[in-house]
Symmetry: C2
Subunit: 534 residues, 2 copies
């Protein structure tokens, strides 16, 4: 099953989609369904035209590479089928002016013949046409007719950059013929491809990879045990000819290899020392949805790196980059919180200790409440944190709230863990920030709450501890008893909220929530009530 409509219209619909999204850079000839040619829009024929193409199913090749600095036209056949002589001729005639045209053809009999005859007919009509045939596949060293695969793009790019610079046809064709024998490509795949309308062939067994397969799903030269990305790259590298100097590698996703895998493979290519420059990894010359990759290498002659690096506007072309050892920068200072300097304040110590004792005392009740809507550990989580805080209270900067609040947050984050710990850390860090800016304690605590709501996304009424804490803090300037009353009202109200909107209770059926307060809100109410009564 694929995102297509009628299979018969697949290629023309795809070309139309490509052109529609080209921002007016591309056009097509009025020859559907037989003649499927994408061209540069508004091309003035003042320079050498580059025409390529072949069967479809290899996108972005070739229509995706039509644009300034690469192809002038792409002649598209049906999936894996060569375009006709008439279609190629239409492409040539549509874009070829006085400077002439270079045909770049992948080495398949159908393409050679159809492009070749079209070239003859164009010449008979007075056009200057040269044709080069790319045969970069090294998978089958004994086969006299090597296939043309992803390495063809080196020719598109080098010839395209020369044409863009205004080089004459003879010079461009000579350069292409000079480049082609220096290109070598090898592919490896974990799957075959799905030809639209046909079931996927299950040729490659689990645990095996196929080496040297073709871009039309043709079987590879051998099936070998698959031993991971590094090993796959090593095998491919072993089939490539030895480097003759400055080498560029093109890393081509055959269709369905994920970007994560492609980056892992790229690392392996770098570490294998295959090349000093890289194009990709990217989908460049695909084989529909094949889960595989190919490596194409070119040993650069002087000036070719510049031609490959010349920028082009087509998004399908990833550009040329140096393949280098990843740069590693040292970690910044400040990652480890500075241990606060302990200080004493009897009142603060008393309040903190009281809060801890209240939470420890409420452990069983809060656990029972949490069991109604969660996993029954709210009480224990809070009590554990409270015990740790009591144990460490002598190390706290009790005399300086600006210091104490973040110290509390960081301590709770470590002893509680999970979302609750992070939320309290955010709360107390923001409160400390506000304190440092001169806020009063109630205002600082409210600033902490505001930040928690911003960061966590919960709001009053969402059945969380906020439902008790927000009204309590609002009432705090009127004194602890008022705050305790407000917290209690808020906590009790959560028992009537049967649709939690945040936190874990959001996933609990409504019936399980009705009549039970949120354990976090209940904890807040008990703390305020305890402090008010103390």
């Amino acid at each position: 099953m694929q995102f297509i409509n009628d299979k018969a219209d697949l290629v023309i619909e795809a070309i139309d989609g490509l052109i529609a999204a080209s921002g007016g850079a591309l056009a097509r000839l009025d020859g559907y369904p037989h003649i499927k040619v994408a061209t540069r829009a508004g091309w003035d024929r003042s320079k050498v035209a580059l025409v390529s193409g072949g069967g479809s199913g290899h996108e972005p090749a070739h229509a995706g590479f039509v644009g300034p600095g690469m192809l002038t036209a792409a002649v598209c056949g049906e999936v894996f089928a060569s375009p006709s002589v008439e279609a190629v001729l239409a492409g040539i005639l549509a874009v070829t002016g006085e400077p002439g045209c270079l045909l770049i053809v992948k080495n398949y009999t159908g393409d050679r013949l159809n492009f070749g005859l079209a070239a003859e007919r164009a010449r008979a009509l007075g056009k200057s046409v040269e044709m080069v045939v790319v045969d970069d596949d090294v998978a089958l060293p004994d086969l006299p007719q090597a296939r043309g695969v992803a390495g063809t793009l080196f020719v598109h790019k080098i010839a395209g950059a020369m044409a863009e610079q205004g080089a004459p046809l003879a010079e461009i064709a000579a350069k292409a013929r000079d480049v082609i024998p220096r290109i070598a490509s090898i592919g490896k795949s974990l799957s075959t491809c799905t030809v639209p309308g046909s079931p996927r062939e299950d040729r490659i067994p689990a645990g095996k990879a196929e080496l040297g397969l073709g871009i039309h799903g043709e079987p590879g030269v051998e099936q070998i045990d698959f031993a991971g990305a590094d090993s796959a790259v090593a095998t491919m590298a072993g089939r490539l000819p030895p480097s003759g100097g400055e080498r560029v590698v093109l890393i081509n996703d055959l269709g369905a290899t994920t970007p994560l895998e492609l980056s892992v493979l790229t690392r392996a290519v770098h570490r294998a020392g295959i090349a000093g420059h890289v194009i990709g990894p990217a989908r460049l010359m695909t084989s529909l949805d094949m889960h595989g990759v190919s490596l194409s290498v070119l040993d650069l002659a002087p000036g070719e790196a510049e031609l490959l690096a010349a920028p082009v506007p087509m998004p399908a072309w990833p550009g040329l980059a140096a393949l280098t050892e990843p740069r590693v920068d040292p970690l910044p200072d400040g990652l480890t919180p500075i241990e606060p300097i302990p200080s004493e304040n009897q009142r603060t110590r008393a309040v903190l200790t009281a809060i801890c004792d209240l939470l420890i005392a409420a452990e069983a009740d809060l656990n029972a409440l949490d069991a109604k809507s969660g996993d029954g550990d709210t009480g224990s989580t809070l009590a554990t944190a409270a015990r740790a805080l009591k144990r460490d209270i002598d190390r706290m900067p009790l005399a300086d709230l600006t210091q104490l609040f973040p110290a509390l947050g960081n301590a709770l984050s470590q002893t509680m863990g999970g979302s609750s710990g992070v939320i309290l850390a955010i709360y107390f860090n923001a409160a400390g920030d506000a304190c440092a800016s001169g806020a009063s304690v109630p205002d600082a605590l409210r600033a902490g709450l505001a930040r928690v709501m911003e960061v966590g996304g919960a709001r009053p009424g969402d059945r969380t501890m906020i439902d008790a804490l927000a009204p309590a803090l609002d009432a705090l300037p009127q004194g602890l008893p008022a705050a305790a009353l407000a917290a209690r009202e808020g906590a009790d109200a959560t028992a009537r909220i049967t649709r939690a909107k945040a936190g874990r209770a959001a996933y609990v059926p409504e019936a399980n929530l009705s009549g039970h307060a949120d354990p976090g809100a209940e904890a807040v109410a008990r703390v305020f009530e305890g402090l008010a009564g103390a």
Copy 2:
């Protein structure tokens, strides 16, 4: 099975691969394995820093968008897992200078909390940090906490362009907060994704598509019948909010959708009138290897199109383009060969007729020979073409070889079809070309053969008709008897070539070829022998 090594090293190896292929544009912090942060290399902190990130598995998001005009750093968690507070803090501290830092966070609890606390801690260390949360998913309209998905990239790009222009933090954060509510995204998928190390969940039955799924493989809001690409786009378009004016659509491949499909979907998006601008189609915010697509829309405020269109060098960013009706150019003149003006030459007529009669007489013998190495139709193919040529001989320009050769080629191409027809068309068109340049008949015929060898790739010794034709043409200046002798020797020699290197016989076992001449070469020999004896 995937192109990875140890699953535990997947993300760090992928980051290293990305950085290695960045041409020195990226660096990472020295915090592996816990702190996985990719940054711009050599970033001078002179402008507002943009930090994003989250779980991995969404590549190229987010590390692929680190670079001038987009992100300054990407903090990467393990696959589908939020990075830690320490990792985010490391990212912030590494890139934040005096102008401050904007955190762009997708709306998931883990990301909000870890990025939120890191922001608090960075602020406590004196950094100016703002945080925005993107919640663009409209799949679950009733869920209060909409997820952040591919629409996040609008924020990366708009904020990134502003930061690059030197805008202050407050202005960038305000713009981001203004943009976010105008973003809406919806996804549709034909498969789930393969989490490395786990089998792929087979949740979506054949014939169904899932609408509104999440980028971590979360189930969608519903499974609906799949009725093709156009229908899929229509369904998604129906879930997007009505457009508020100038709209841009981001077409996102969730991982394994082929470029062909993406272009078909893009055409559907264009025809559905969803937006006037497009980003993609491309892999932007993937869900590993999910076979699905998402559409994200943004209704543009003044100036935002320019910010989205500002060029950036990262190959993962496809740029912004107008989504327009595909331009259609008329077919060029010259596609239909000009019908030659008939003319008479008694000698040429006699030679042509004799050749045709020879081929008709050889039909059964050549078929029998072809049956040894092919499908036994060479004789019939040639005889059919010969009969057609005899029938049409009065319409041939017999008096003018410059005209006759291409006319013969085009006639044979039509009546023979297949590779043989195209080869002969190339042969005679090139011969006509040579004639027009003043070549003698033997030289013109040799020029035709040279072109066939260039185009078709076959050489003498490859067991084709060339093995008879090449020596015959070489001997032709010495007269027809010499040519006939050479052709016969060449044809007979093909019976000893047991390894065909071109044509269909290349796929035939050696034993089947031994002792039988190539039928094409035999046909050539019979023609020359017949003409010499006539």
